[in-house]
Subunit: 245 residues, 2 copies
């Protein structure tokens, strides 16, 4: 009985603590979105969760770790989506398009993520976080990379893609990743897009990704398969918001 009581008490405490961590992150995320990086403030977070500042510091070594934790949350979700996408039926390039659809769904449902990621990537912030937290984020990145590189490998093996001599699957993925990362960065931070005549940058990103894979000669080419329709459909079928997170 004693042990049992102790255990339940322990686990209630544990649950309390765990839920408080989630609470802190929820509040931090909202404040970050509402007031920007410079408006994110430990005292305000403390006031809002109705715990003192000292308690927050039992969960996170410093302000920067909260940011890294936010980024990690999002990256773990993305990784799960990518893995699910990579399991799709069909030839490798179609599976790659499925990953593309997952990436689109991710930014649509986690639009805050790019703000957070951008902030975290600023070197002096990154350097203030503990190696443990960095490790987790880097692990997500590596595994996202590995998941997509595997698809390219499959394509090389089954002959639907022939890479030029001296070039790796990793390079193709680097291209896709860059295109995605750059388009998101520009979309979220450039104030001149609309007046320049780019009304739908997300659609342009998708188009350019297909052009690039066509450039690699990855079959089936976009002239032989309607990736556009496919991605729209798969986004609704597999990556609606209620299907994850």
């Amino acid at each position: 009985m004693t042990a049992s009581t102790a255990t339940t008490a322990e686990s209630r405490k544990q649950r309390e603590i765990r839920s408080r961590e989630a609470q802190i992150l929820d509040v931090a995320r909202r404040q970050l979105l509402e007031r920007g990086y410079l408006g994110l403030n430990m005292d305000r977070i403390a006031a809002e969760i109705e715990y003192s500042k000292g308690t927050i510091y039992q969960h996170f070594r410093n302000k920067e770790e909260i940011l890294v934790a936010l980024a990690t949350q999002a990256l773990e979700t993305r990784l799960a989506m990518f893995r699910s996408a990579a399991d799709a039926e069909g030839p490798p390039r179609v599976r790659m398009a499925t990953v593309g659809a997952a990436a689109e769904a991710f930014v649509e449902h986690f639009s805050h993520h790019f703000l957070v990621e951008q902030v975290v990537r600023v070197s002096s912030i990154w350097e203030k976080t503990s190696p443990d937290r960095r490790e987790v984020m880097e692990g997500c990145e590596r595994q996202c990379m590995a998941t997509t590189v595997a698809i390219v490998h499959d394509a090389v093996v089954d002959g639907s893609l022939r890479l030029p001599d001296g070039h790796d699957p990793e390079e193709l993925i680097f291209g896709m990743w860059s295109l995605y990362q750059g388009a998101q960065t520009i979309t979220h931070t450039s104030h001149t897009l609309a007046e320049i005549g780019l009304s739908n940058p997300l659609a342009s990103l998708r188009f350019n990704q297909n052009v690039m894979l066509d450039g690699y000669g990855w079959a089936p080419l976009s002239s032989d398969f309607d990736y556009h329709a496919y991605m729209d459909r798969i986004k609704l079928d597999r990556f609606r918001h209620d299907q994850f997170a």
Copy 2:
């Protein structure tokens, strides 16, 4: 005589002030590189230029404006390089490759720029700067865009490039810009690149750009023209460090 003396005195003052502004930016740039964003500090800048903090605030409304000014310096240089590149001899795609070479040279000689740009793009920093300063930066961005879009236009006119129905020159440029922006961001901030097997991201970026333009079917294709050798050569001929800045 009086007027003349007054005028010279005035312009000496003016020159003094102008040179001090450059001095502030030089010191700020160095401190930013050495100590990161969080290490950039008004008191330290003041100490190093041997003027008081108050004097710095006569040049820049706040810390963020210094960052924007640094970014603007770099962007103006890049614009000049792009314009020079766009004037190159040859068919449009070769001129586009020249711009690519200029972009490469830019990051090689202004490696600090991406750090600055990244910091500036964080929304809450951007919002603290004055409309005037923002205007200048946005103007640079627009003009870079316009310069490169013009090349694509020329290609469409001379028939070396045929854009798919419903797609603009702006979309192609958005693709190139995204690829460039994303590759730079990743290269400068990812800690997992080397272990993933990307030993030379700059070379991979160049390769992917050519693949993408091949995907657009922009003649001459990279199978018909050695863009790699051309870009290496043009970088030495036109964009050595001593030829600008």
